[in-house]
């Protein structure tokens, strides 16, 4: 029920986690849940701009996008996807533990999610380092040689890429701009999520989430799942262009 009947808010038996401006626990849980869904909607709009740019440029410069995508390591990318999906699973388990008041289970699940999140970021930093070393970071030091001379480049040879004409090779910089912008934004959201996980682990150990007030964990779960879903789209769109 959206609006509970009018009750005296200053009853002594109001639970401590019920904020003063809410009439009931249900209203508070409902409101914070709605808040998280709305926030995720804003995040969708935020990433949406990047997806729109991707759509347009991929349509225009398909060959450059293929060549750029072949430069990414599918093994690392798949590993990251598996890691994140696993972390979503552990997170979902954590929510269940909170709802069924299993404190140690909750703490374990949160720690696992945290570790998996760190794994993801670790793999991402390995990938970013490789891109930096190969001069595929857009800007002053961007190098076209992997695309003009694919036989000198491992990844391009493995994918069987032919040399790109110079003008199309220049457009690979747009691909990498989108790669870094999209995965970078995503990584930023992961870092924020991991930070909140640390906070949650500490609070969970103190028993904050297993006394009937699980909204924080549930809402964080929503956020984590959203970050996971965005990654799955990014993986498909960035890593898997024209792979045979």
């Amino acid at each position: 029920m959206e609006n509970s009947p009018a009750v005296a808010e200053l009853r002594a038996d109001r639970p401590s986690y019920l904020r003063h401006h809410f009439q009931s626990v249900e209203q508070q849980a409902d409101a914070s849940n709605f808040a998280m869904w709305l926030f995720l909607l804003t995040e969708l709009m935020f990433f949406g701009g990047l997806f729109t740019a991707y759509l347009i440029y991929r349509n225009w410069y398909f060959a450059a996008f293929v060549a750029g995508s072949h430069q990414l390591n599918v093994i690392w990318g798949t590993l990251n996807t598996v890691v994140l999906i696993l972390s979503s699973f552990t997170m979902a388990m954590g929510v269940w533990c909170a709802e069924t008041a299993r404190k140690s289970g909750l703490v374990l699940c949160l720690i696992l999610t945290f570790i998996l999140g760190l794994c993801f970021l670790g793999i991402k930093s390995v990938e970013y380092t490789e891109k930096f070393e190969k001069h595929h970071v857009p800007g002053q030091h961007y190098s076209l040689s992997s695309f003009l001379y694919p036989d000198t480049d491992e990844a391009a040879t493995a994918a069987g890429d032919k040399p790109l004409p110079l003008d199309m090779a220049r457009h690979t910089e747009v691909y990498f701009s989108l790669y870094f912008a999209m995965t970078g934004m995503h990584a930023l959201h992961m870092i924020i999520g991991i930070g909140i996980l640390v906070f949650m682990i500490v609070r969970a150990r103190a028993g904050a989430y297993t006394v009937g007030h699980v909204t924080f964990v549930e809402n964080f779960g929503l956020y984590w799942h959203f970050v996971d879903i965005v990654w799955i789209y990014l993986f498909a769109l960035l890593y898997l262009i024209s792979r045979h």
Binding site: A35, L38, M45, G48, G49, I56, W60, V174, A181
Partner: protein, 556 residues
């Protein structure tokens, strides 16, 4: 200083300001800077907004002084470019977008729906801090040399061709944008989940409907400008090439991303003002708003349609003719709900019992000036005339009519209307009425000549112009000085009242909203017990029964 400061005597249930209220609950800077009380946050916003408005207004004054003469006599081109950019950035992002929602919306929405606070008080406070940080970054930009890209940050000018403080300005706008998103988020959750028992959707005041519609836009559109600005910053900092034609990027992509927000932004700016007008016109005609459902739905219609018209800012930029056809059509459609509202407000006056206090005078000003501004928008929405009129002073006149003649007047109307609720005191009616009239006259003198200038072809953002345009520019500057005087008078009247204004009592206007059934200023928790909404919105008959029964109103 006399007691005769009202046209009608107030309903007084207490001749003095109540001792316990949200202002006196706690004292000290910490209690203000760490507050969760939506009313205190609204006051914090009001102070910071006024501060930035003064800076933006000073920029406007400098612009008009420069344009007194055809040559760049007062400021060099570079300086002028920085001045109008700052004027735009401050006025749009630091004043107009937050104005009514962050002050009046924050203060009133929980009270209007019978709640004790917004759904997320800490997020509300965070929202204000983000605004302040954005503002500080803008101040930093100003003192460290300014930025001269225009508030629209057109690429590739802003990415590769200026060496001013684009980054700090973009960061400021990014952060202020999050302030806006969080405010909108808060409003949506509050309106959905925290209405008092009996407060159905169609019993909500139209002020709440307007803020609901604006909040939907805040939440959905602002993230897109965030990403546009992020990409702009990346392009400027490291040259990623996403908007650079030599690298395969497309500068028009930035235009699409930027205007996808910036068009809904103008509805974010105006809808809350329209909400204010609904309340004011109803109260001062003693009548329910004519066509309540139509006004409520037209707010939502504006919010929805507002998302589909952004490319009308790009009609001459080489987009396809067929795209122009579609966007022009949608622009015409989005104009209709605004027309509906104007007529509904006008007919609210029909068979009413009308008085002419300052809020009502500002509301009348709004109705006339917004009609002109809105109609000039139709001139621009029609693709053929847009070709001649776009990028000239016609555009400048158009948006100043709707934003200053419309939104700012609505803001002043609302501030005056709810001043008694916020502070417990009445402003000086005579001074404020005079301020309203002076503002109206000054405004018309300032901006109407600009329509003519635009038709004559004077381009915008010109530090110096051909001499044949001088006469109209002088007229415009003269009007600006009168306009400025009007604002100063209004501010003086309000500030004067803090010390010398008459005590207002609960409901000096005998208005119907739930917020008027509490003490002025309200308690921190708004209501001592949750109100039950058992009557329709704008139910003056209910109000009469309340007063005749001499029942102690809620919250006493």
């Amino acid at each position: 200083m006399s007691t005769d400061t009202l046209v009608t005597p107030p309903e007084q249930s207490a001749p003095t300001i109540p001792e316990v209220n949200y202002l006196t609950k706690e004292y000290g800077l910490r209690s203000w800077l760490l507050t969760g009380d939506h009313k205190r946050i609204a006051i914090l916003y009001l102070i910071s907004l006024s501060f930035f408005f003064c800076i933006g207004g000073t920029m406007a004054g400098l612009i008009r002084l420069q344009l007194l003469t055809p040559h760049a006599d007062l400021m060099s081109s570079d300086t002028y470019n920085k001045v109008f950019t700052m004027h735009g950035v401050i006025m749009v992002f630091l004043f107009l977008v937050p104005s009514v929602p962050a002050t009046l919306g924050n203060f009133l929405i929980p009270m209007m729906i019978g709640a004790r606070d917004l759904a997320l008080p800490k997020i509300n406070l965070l929202s204000w801090y983000l605004y302040v940080i954005g503002g500080i970054l803008v101040l930093y930009t100003m003192i460290s040399g300014g930025v001269d890209t225009g508030w629209t940050f057109t690429t590739p000018l802003s990415t590769h061709y200026v060496n001013t403080n684009v980054l700090s300005t973009c960061l400021a706008v990014f952060i202020a944008g999050f302030s806006s998103i969080l405010t909108g988020l808060n409003f949506l959750i509050t309106i959905h989940k925290m209405r008092a028992p009996g407060m159905t959707w169609f019993r909500l005041p139209l002020f709440v409907w307007a803020h609901y519609a604006a909040s939907v836009q805040m939440v959905l559109a602002t993230p897109v400008v965030a990403i546009a600005i992020t990409l702009l910053m990346l392009e400027r900092m490291i040259g990623i090439g996403i908007f650079d034609p030599t690298k395969g990027g497309d500068p028009l992509l930035f235009q699409h991303l930027f205007w996808f927000y910036s068009h809904p932004a103008v509805y974010i700016m105006i809808l809350p003002g329209m909400g204010v007008i609904s309340e004011v016109v109803s109260t001062f005609s003693r009548k329910r708003v004519f066509g309540y459902t139509a006004v409520a739905f037209s707010s939502v219609a504006i919010a929805v349609f507002g998302f589909f018209v952004w490319a009308h800012h790009m009609f001459i930029m080489g987009i396809s003719n067929y795209a122009v056809l579609v966007f022009s059509l949608l622009t015409m459609l989005v104009a209709v709900p605004s027309a509906i509202k104007i007529f509904n407000w006008a007919f609210t006056l029909y068979k009413g019992s009308i008085t002419f206090e300052a809020p009502m005078l500002y509301a009348f000003g709004f109705m006339g000036l917004f009609t002109i501004g809105g109609m000039s928008g139709v001139f621009l929405g029609s693709a053929g005339t847009d070709i001649h009129l776009t990028e000239t002073y016609f555009i400048v006149a158009h948006f100043h009519f709707v934003m200053v003649g419309g939104m700012l007047m609505a803001f002043l109307s609302g501030i005056h209307f709810w001043w008694s609720k916020v502070t417990g005191r009445m402003y000086s009616e005579k001074m404020s009425q005079m301020a309203a009239v002076v503002t109206f006259i000054g405004f018309n003198l300032t901006f109407f000549p600009q329509f003519v200038l635009g038709m004559l072809g004077m381009p915008r953002r010109y530090a110096s112009y051909p001499p044949e345009f001088q006469a109209l520019n002088i007229l415009s500057t003269a009007g600006a000085s009168i306009l400025g005087a009007g604002y100063l008078l209004a501010a003086f009247s309000l500030l004067w009242s803090l010390k010398y204004g008459a005590v207002a009592g609960n409901n000096p206007w005998r208005a119907t909203g739930l917020e008027w059934q509490t003490q002025s200023p309200p308690l921190t928790e708004n209501f001592t017990e949750a109100p039950i909404m058992d009557h329709e919105a704008y139910d003056y008959a209910w109000l009469e029964r309340q007063n005749s029964r001499d029942e102690v109103p809620h919250g006493e």
